[in-house]
Amino acid sequence: MSPILFWIFSALMLGFGAATILNRNPVASALSLVVSFLGLAALFFGLDANFIGVIQILVYAGAVMVLFIFIIMLLDLKAEQRRQINIPALLGGVAIVVAFTAQLVTVIRSYKAGNEPFAAITPNLPDAHNIGMTLFANYNLPFQVIGVLILVASIGVVVLSQRELK
């Protein structure tokens, strides 16, 4: 991937990520998040991880965020824009971010393998094939367990929403 493209898409991703938090209008926030996801997908494409990139768009930008916007549109946006900034919550949030960043920096600094260059990867790996083989050959049992977990969760949602109706 050319470094210029990398910087453009990284800037796109981080800039719109910040816009997600800073925007007062919930629809604008949600759309900024979509653009941020698209930037992330472009970074994956640049690393020849086409499958993950496309799943990023398909699942997050195309399905999850559409549902988010769908719900947001039904809310009263004016009430959200009128809300005052809660100072203690803001300070708490900033403190957590600073602490987390500090932790991240110390961990990455002490991680020796991070400084060693990787061997060059041959481009155009069949990544859909590789992911399938890894998931179903090496990690089949955990994969099935996650499947059961999701099934239980979705049955739970159906049961709860049915109870709400009565």
């Binding site: 629809v27 759309l31 979509v34 086409n50 499958f51 496309v54 799943i55 768009i57 398909l58 930008a61 195309g62 399905a63 559409v66 549902l67 916007i69 769908f70 549109m73 039904l74 155009n124 069949p126 990544d127 859909a128």
Partner: protein, 386 residues
């Protein structure tokens, strides 16, 4: 001159200019096809309703001495798309005062952008002078089309929301529901094909069909057309189910009748683009028909052998012969797409609209389950055949 030719045949500049040429050519062909699809829709609908349809705005053939009346019932009206385009361009572009301006302006572009970008991975021909007739030969073809066209819903949602009016909003809500419901069936219904072919690359899917027969008509191969063998017949069963689910879901994804609830005229004036006029309305219109073409092209590529037709070789021969066959292959592909577009139009003027609860029931209770069960059936058959 020689230096320029030398530069143009270097690998990187060659890739750049061929890709640009292919994109420009495909875009041009698709835009012409869109305008004539609109014309075909009007003429076919009038044929089916025993009317004439637009038959006056013709090219002045009598001036050129062909002796055909300019507005004959059959040839007349071929100039109608040009007149329509001019009309849409020159109308007053009215922006209501109460809309959310920024989103109101970007919504039409999002819709058509998504529809056009997803054409990039569709192989529309074999090859001409060694250049593959596909803009982006990626290993995730169908997924790419689904991903990009799932972004098209933002155009509709934003149009409905930013219009700040009840009918567009209801249209947008319906559209979101519909797209999310049918995307699942659409994605799941092609899994059997991928199980059988074992490839996710659309170019390789087409070349598999050239070797082993079209997915939907398994006897038609590059060698000699023959009756399908038992193995081919067994794999044909899930493919046929997948084809039905995929095609019907494609109708829902492109908001075509019988699933055009987002813009049901009798209920919602004209749905999500009620507040739009002039060029912005034209963009929605173009986007809808481009999505139809993308959908038809995907169906042709996945199920009907793409550019292949028995007896017509691909463009790998040397010299002008190869170029000619390459162009013929593109013609075959476009002919198949046009046939599908006419099928789309026939359905529109044949079936009444579904009710909203019927639409949801069909998507979630029927197609989703059928597509899911079909995957298991395919897995069993593929295990048996191999």
């Amino acid at each position: 001159m020689n230096a320029i030719l030398q530069f143009l045949s270097d690998p990187l500049p060659f890739l750049v200019w061929t890709t640009l040429a292919k994109s420009a050519g495909l875009l041009g062909v698709v835009l012409v096809m869109v305008s004539y699809t609109v014309y075909a829709e009007r003429r076919v609908s009038s044929l089916m309703q025993d009317r004439l349809g637009p038959n006056r705005t013709g090219f002045p053939t009598s001036l050129l001495g062909f002796g055909i009346k300019d507005w004959s019932p059959f040839l007349g009206g071929l100039g109608q798309p040009i007149a329509d385009a001019l009309k849409l361009l020159l109308k007053e572009d009215f922006t209501p005062a109460y809309v959310n301006k920024f989103y109101y302006w970007i919504a039409p572009g999002l819709g058509i952008g998504a529809a056009i970008i997803s054409l990039a991975v569709i192989p529309f021909g074999s090859s001409i002078a060694g250049v593959d007739m596909v803009i982006a030969n990626v290993d995730i073809g169908p997924l790419f089309v689904f991903a990009i066209s799932s972004l098209g819903v933002y155009g509709i949602v934003l149009a409905g929301w930013s219009s700040n009016s009840k009918y567009p909003f209801l249209g947008a809500v319906r559209s979101t529901n519909q797209l999310i419901s049918y995307e699942l069936a659409l994605g799941l219904s092609i899994v059997p094909l991928i199980l059988i072919i074992g490839k996710l690359n659309l170019v390789e899917i087409v070349s598999y069909q050239v070797q082993n027969g079209w997915m939907l008509l398994p006897g038609i191969t590059a060698k000699a057309p023959h009756l399908p063998t038992l193995e081919q017949f067994l794999t044909w069963i899930p493919v046929f189910i997948a084809f039905l689910v995929f095609t019907i879901s494609m109708f829902a994804e492109t908001n075509r009748l019988p699933f055009d609830l987002p813009e049901a005229e009798t209920e919602l004036v004209s749905g999500y683009h009620t507040e739009y006029s002039s060029l912005k309305f034209a963009l929605f219109f173009l986007g809808e028909y481009t999505a139809m073409i993308t959908g038809s092209a995907l169906i042709v590529t996945l199920f009907l052998g793409g550019w292949h037709f028995p007896g017509i070789p691909d463009g790998s021969a040397a010299g002008w012969l190869g170029v000619m066959w390459g162009l013929v292959n593109i013609g075959v592909f476009l002919a198949k797409v046009v046939a599908f577009l006419i099928f789309f139009i026939f359905i529109r003027w044949t079936l009444p609209r579904f009710r909203y609860d019927q639409l949801m029931k069909l998507g979630w209770i029927w197609f989703f389950e059928i597509a899911l069960v079909n995957i298991f059936i395919t897995a069993l058959i593929v295990t048996y055949v191999h």
